[in-house]
């Protein structure tokens, strides 16, 4: 029961999902609808687990007076505030003018966007401290990165004004993107696709069981 049923479920669901690509006839045309709905619903329930775990960890931190336990309180409070407001506001929680959308727009959004923006600084610092032309591979990576960065902003063409129009940086960047970049990207893509197909196959056939907890 503990191992066989999950394997059976995965197998049947996986095979049906593959078959519905080839078989347009009912019930396969319908299965897709059911499965996708169930998928969304299960996902929504699963986040309860995550949230409860977050609360548990934070609460343990507060009770145990571990370092930074004050921030754990902030986590709990901000979580509760967001959830309470979200529940209170009902289905229309997302509409303009609700407290939830206010929190989203002026608290969540700036925090999330600035987190993204921090990456700009880290990218620069990584360029200075970590990106070295150590060997041919790294040199190629750097040179390509270089040409793309120059070619994708107007200043690139201004710097290379002395070159013929078709050899200015913007054209060079377009060339790299269209040909060698596409070739490399495609090799990676095909490789990944093969890997995904084989992993999926193993999972569907129950050969791969890691996701159900460890080896055999």
């Amino acid at each position: 029961m503990r191992r066989e049923v999950p394997l059976l479920i995965t197998g049947i669901v996986g095979v049906v999902f593959v078959l519905q690509y080839f078989i347009p006839h009912w019930p396969f045309s319908q299965v897709n609808t059911w499965f996708s709905d169930w998928f969304s619903i299960v996902g929504a329930f699963a986040i309860w687990l995550g949230a409860l775990n977050l609360l548990k960890i934070s609460a343990l931190k507060v009770i145990g007076k571990k370092s930074d336990w004050g921030y754990a309180i902030v986590i709990i409070i901000s979580f509760i505030i967001m959830v309470a407001i979200g529940f209170a506001e009902g289905k229309e929680f997302r509409e303009q003018g609700t407290m939830f959308s206010w929190l989203y727009e002026y608290v969540y959004s700036p925090l999330s966007a600035t987190m993204f923006a921090l990456l700009a600084f880290f990218v620069a610092s990584a360029s200075y401290r970590a990106f070295r032309a150590r060997n041919l591979d790294a040199t190629l990576l750097l040179m390509a990165g270089f040409l793309i960065m120059l070619g994708r902003v107007p200043v690139g063409d201004s710097i290379s004004f002395f070159l013929p129009e078709n050899y200015q940086f913007s054209q060079v960047a377009s060339w790299i993107m269209t040909w060698p970049q596409t070739a490399g990207q495609r090799a990676i893509m095909i490789g990944i696709a093969l890997g995904l197909v084989s992993t999926s196959l193993r999972i569907i056939l129950g050969i791969e069981r890691a996701h159900l907890g460890g080896g055999d």
Binding site: F22, N53, M115, A126, Q185, I207
Partner: protein, 417 residues
């Protein structure tokens, strides 16, 4: 006839079908349905207007029903007029009689085919096609006139049990899966399969060893995607191995995760790894813990933890998005050994730059096979390699054939064009 031949001959039947539908689809005009305005009927003058001819109606093949394809031959417009488009009219069959004809579709000039997707499988229908001619009248204004075709035969739609356009995908999937399964069975039978070395993986023991020497923690970040992502699954497979090594060396392994499903799985895997090396007592429930589902909330959380606790070794194995740089750069700044592996092409450059070892793309999937040294994983890696060999071979042959204009080899790989 052996099985392979059967499959091959079916492949060619399928190919012929694929080509046919290619033709079909290329000629598809933009579709529009049921217009409110009535069909204009006035005539320009007494010039005879040719109606569309050869109205062919048929159930649209390879679909789930509910659709009929109508085809016709374009009439030759009389001098001074041009074809502006067509109206498709449909009537339900009532017994053996036709009901009222209504406009169900409209196409622009140049098309001679339309797909009516608003039909019910259980009913029978009749169709007519009306051509819209336009001409410039005496007063300089545009005038339109219609010429209706005869009535088509009775037709109904139905669903099919196989989508023949996808026969090549079907054959491909069967072959690839066949190879993989064949090699898995070979590996299980004890046949030794060669896999080339993967640099990043050789370093796992060394990295864990260093953390032990320094008396510091190891972090394992299984990516920010859910268990439904195969990369995450490969990541947690590697986690199993890392946990075993960590348990053996008695080094504290911490696994912060961002998805509740990953939490569930990772916890089980670490627990099992500890038992496997005989140290179930060393496992703590909170070794694997959840931060938040949000990618940046998660990155921020880990960032803080890394700066505060300064782990000696950090593993990044799984699917990563933008957070990869924050994570890897912060790890770099505290001087941790970093081993990364992801199949996210957009994040790989930063891992290559900021980490000591990086598993590129498929190497991540090869990694779980390589680490576990399990026959099933090695076997499937081998199966994929056969797939790759076929692709390599196809590219050489195909490019030659096509360059010299012998045959459109690439059409074998087309997916609904």
């Amino acid at each position: 006839m052996n099985l392979q031949l059967v499959i091959r001959s079916r492949l060619f039947v399928g190919l012929a079908q694929v080509c046919f539908f290619l033709f079909l689809l290329v000629n598809l005009g933009p579709l529009a349905f049921a217009q409110d305005e009535p069909v204009p009927t006035q005539l320009v003058d007494s010039t005879p207007l040719n109606p569309p001819t050869n109205i062919e109606v048929a159930d649209t093949p390879n679909d789930a029903g509910g659709s009929i394809t109508i085809r016709w031959t374009e009439p030759i417009p009389p001098e001074g007029t041009a074809i502006k488009g067509y109206y498709i009219l449909r009537a339900e069959a009532v017994g053996n009689e036709q009901g009222q004809f209504d406009v169900v579709g409209e196409t622009s000039t140049g098309s001679s085919e339309l797909l009516d997707g608003n039909v019910v499988d259980t009913l029978n229908y009749y169709y007519r096609v009306a051509v819209i001619y336009s001409a410039t009248g005496v007063n300089g204004l545009e005038v339109e006139a219609l010429a209706e075709s005869g009535i088509s035969r009775m037709v109904s739609s139905s669903a099919q049990w196989f989508d023949w356009r996808r026969i090549n995908v079907f054959v491909g999937v069967i072959f690839l899966c066949g190879f993989i399964l064949y090699y898995i069975s070979r590996a299980k039978a004890g046949k030794k399969l060669f896999i080339r070395k993967i640099a990043g993986l050789e370093a796992v023991d060394e990295a864990v060893g260093r953390a032990t020497e320094m008396g510091k923690k190891i972090y394992f970040i299984p990516g920010t995607q859910d268990m439904d992502n195969v990369q995450t699954i490969a990541g947690v497979t590697i986690l199993g191995r890392v946990a075993e090594v960590a348990a053996t060396y008695d080094t504290y392994l911490e696994v912060p995760v961002s998805r509740s499903l990953v939490l569930v799985t990772a916890k089980e895997i670490v627990k099992e790894a500890y038992s496997k090396v005989g140290r179930p007592d060393a496992f703590h429930e909170d070794q694997v813990h959840y931060l938040t589902d949000d990618q940046f909330g998660y990155a921020a959380g880990i960032d803080g933890m890394v700066v505060r606790e300064k782990p000696a070794t950090i593993f990044f194995m799984g699917a990563f998005y933008a957070e990869s740089l924050i994570l890897a750069e912060t790890g770099n700044s505290i001087g941790a050994i970093q081993i990364a592996g992801t199949a996210m092409p957009s994040q790989l450059p930063f891992f290559v730059a900021a980490c000591d070892y990086t598993l590129i793309g498929e190497e991540l999937f090869a990694a779980s096979a390589y680490l576990a040294r399990e026959p099933k994983l090695l076997g499937s890696l081998k199966g994929q390699d056969v797939g790759k060999a076929i692709i390599l071979f196809s590219i050489v042959i195909g490019v030659l054939l096509e360059t010299f204009g012998v045959w459109r080899f690439s059409s074998l790989f087309g997916v609904l064009d």
